[in-house]
């Protein structure tokens, strides 16, 4: 018995080659500063990344990540300070447990593990940030556009 009677709006034809959209949640004190350092140092990294600054990786709720996927992100990256270096002492330590569980949960349901990734980048690791972004974008490109959990409006 059909329940949903929604119509999805027709998809716009695109004549550009598909590029993955990666949403990155970066903690203000370490990772965002690290990304900034990459920029200042003129280290090139893929433009596919869209950065959202949060005060601390501990601020991240899984709702953010799932919403990003729902809105069409092909991959999500979350980055915080290295454990032990959190500006708020333990925000990233609390987050670490949540991230571990979330990663297991999503993979369990059949969502590719490369779609949601977590890392630690410090304020001085501009190069590391760029390298991680390269990796995440490449992996997303290989996987293709994300169709799981996407909401078509």
């Amino acid at each position: 018995m059909s329940q949903t009677q929604t119509q999805s709006a027709p998809e716009a034809a695109s004549d550009k080659a598909w590029e993955p959209k990666v949403v990155a949640f970066l903690c203000n004190w370490c990772s965002y500063a690290g990304a900034d350092l990459a920029g200042v140092s003129r280290i090139q990294y893929p433009h596919n990344i869209r950065i959202i600054r949060v005060p601390c990786s501990g601020r991240i709720s899984p709702a953010f990540l799932l919403r990003a996927l729902q809105n069409g992100a092909d991959a999500v990256l979350v980055s915080g300070c290295h454990p032990g270096d959190c500006h708020y002492i333990s925000g990233n330590l609390a987050a670490r447990r949540k991230f571990a569980l979330l990663k297991e949960l999503l993979q369990y349901t059949g969502i590719e593990p490369e779609r949601v990734q977590f890392t630690w980048v410090s304020a001085s690791e501009g190069g590391r940030f760029a390298a991680i972004v390269e990796k995440v974008v490449e992996q997303a490109r290989k996987l293709g556009p994300n169709k799981k959990l996407v909401k078509n409006l």
Binding site: R97, F99, T109, G110, K151
Partner: protein
């Protein structure tokens, strides 16, 4: 007399005494329902009512779900002035239900000192849908337990049918690891040992052995039946404490209200995540679901991960810190992406 009937009589005496001696102002138990294979929760305030209490294989509800509502803190200082003192509550609890109460105590949602825990060692409750299906085209007019713990039902043509307990026991009970209440003020029934302690693990291992896309397809299949009624959430004692569920929030709105499969998926994913380290595997959610979804699909996984990664099981010790309220400097981090 069956073991259950003996327990039932002792339960009535216990409740009667507690109420009469005013050791509790409210006693939560079960009473006979209007349809077979079911009972209904009973909120007793008088000792005379104790004879309505029953104990049988159909006592399926997790009564802990009512506790957070009974102990809600006053909204503000002014309300606190006129608010009545928190009640003293006696409550009938199976092994799994006690874990829920302990988990609620861990989270400071309910005060231990206001509770009288009447634990009953439980061999597993009956899933009324399984029982009804087992009768095929017949309908039960009445059902009870026999001396062996099986269920005998009188069906519409007047005949009696015996249904073996293990065939109609609820899914959660097949994976039960805590049949005997660990915490109690009174314990009724002979303590039961958990039988298949890795039933859940084996089930998950089987699911995880399938490729990613097969798992996703299975997940989507389950979600397609969901009508977003929220029965799973409302029946869950760990969900019952929240004033407004994240998934009902409108500012911001995290998921849509309808059955768009993306919204349904995120509802279940987020709810399972919010139960990580809190779900006590009672199965009330799956039994409440009117569409027969395996609602525990994701929570089961979270229980396993929390055990494997952090050696933690909710609902075992009232003074244990909930797993996501704690951290260790050497928590595992194999999941972290390196360049």
């Amino acid at each position: 007399m069956t073991a259950s009937h003996e327990i039932e009589l002792r339960l009535r005496d216990t409740a009667e005494q507690l109420l009469r001696e005013k050791k509790v102002g409210l006693f939560l138990g079960y009473e006979k329902a209007t349809l077979p294979f079911r009972t209904t929760p009973l909120f007793l305030t008088t000792a005379e009512g104790a004879e309505r209490l029953v104990w049988n294989p159909f006592c399926t509800a997790n009564l802990a779900v009512y506790l957070p509502g009974l102990f809600k803190a006053p909204a503000d200082a002014r309300q606190a002035k006129s608010a009545p003192p928190p009640p003293t509550v006696g409550i009938v609890l199976k092994g799994c239900d006690v874990r829920s109460v302990v988990a609620l105590i861990q989270e400071r949602q309910v005060p231990r000192e206001n509770l009288v825990l009447v634990g009953i060692a439980c061999p597993g409750v009956v899933d009324r849908r399984k029982a009804e299906r087992a009768l095929g085209e017949h309908q039960a007019l009445g059902a009870g337990e026999d001396a062996r713990g099986n269920v005998h039902a009188v069906v519409d043509d007047g005949t009696e049918v015996t249904l073996r307990r293990e065939q109609i026991v609820a899914d959660a009970c097949l994976e039960c690891r805590a049949p005997t209440p660990s915490l109690h003020d009174v314990l009724l029934g002979t303590p039961v040992e958990a039988k298949e302690t890795d039933a859940a693990r084996r089930r998950m291992a089987e699911f995880e052995s399938r490729p990613l896309d097969v798992r996703w397809a299975r997940f989507q299949e389950m979600l397609a039946k969901c009508i977003r009624c929220n029965a799973c959430r409302q029946a869950c004692p760990m969900c019952s404490g929240c004033k407004t569920c994240l998934l009902d929030q409108t500012r911001p709105r995290w998921i849509g209200a309808g059955t768009d499969i993306s919204d349904v998926g995120i509802y279940h994913l987020l709810r399972a995540f919010h139960l990580a380290g809190r779900c006590t595997e009672c199965g009330a959610c799956a039994r409440a679901c009117p569409m027969g979804l395996d609602v525990r699909l994701l929570a089961r996984k979270m229980c396993q991960e929390v055990e494997d990664l952090y050696g933690y099981r909710p609902g075992e010790a009232t003074d244990a810190t909930p797993v996501l309220s704690a951290f260790s400097l050497d928590d595992p981090q194999d999941f972290v992406t390196e360049p």
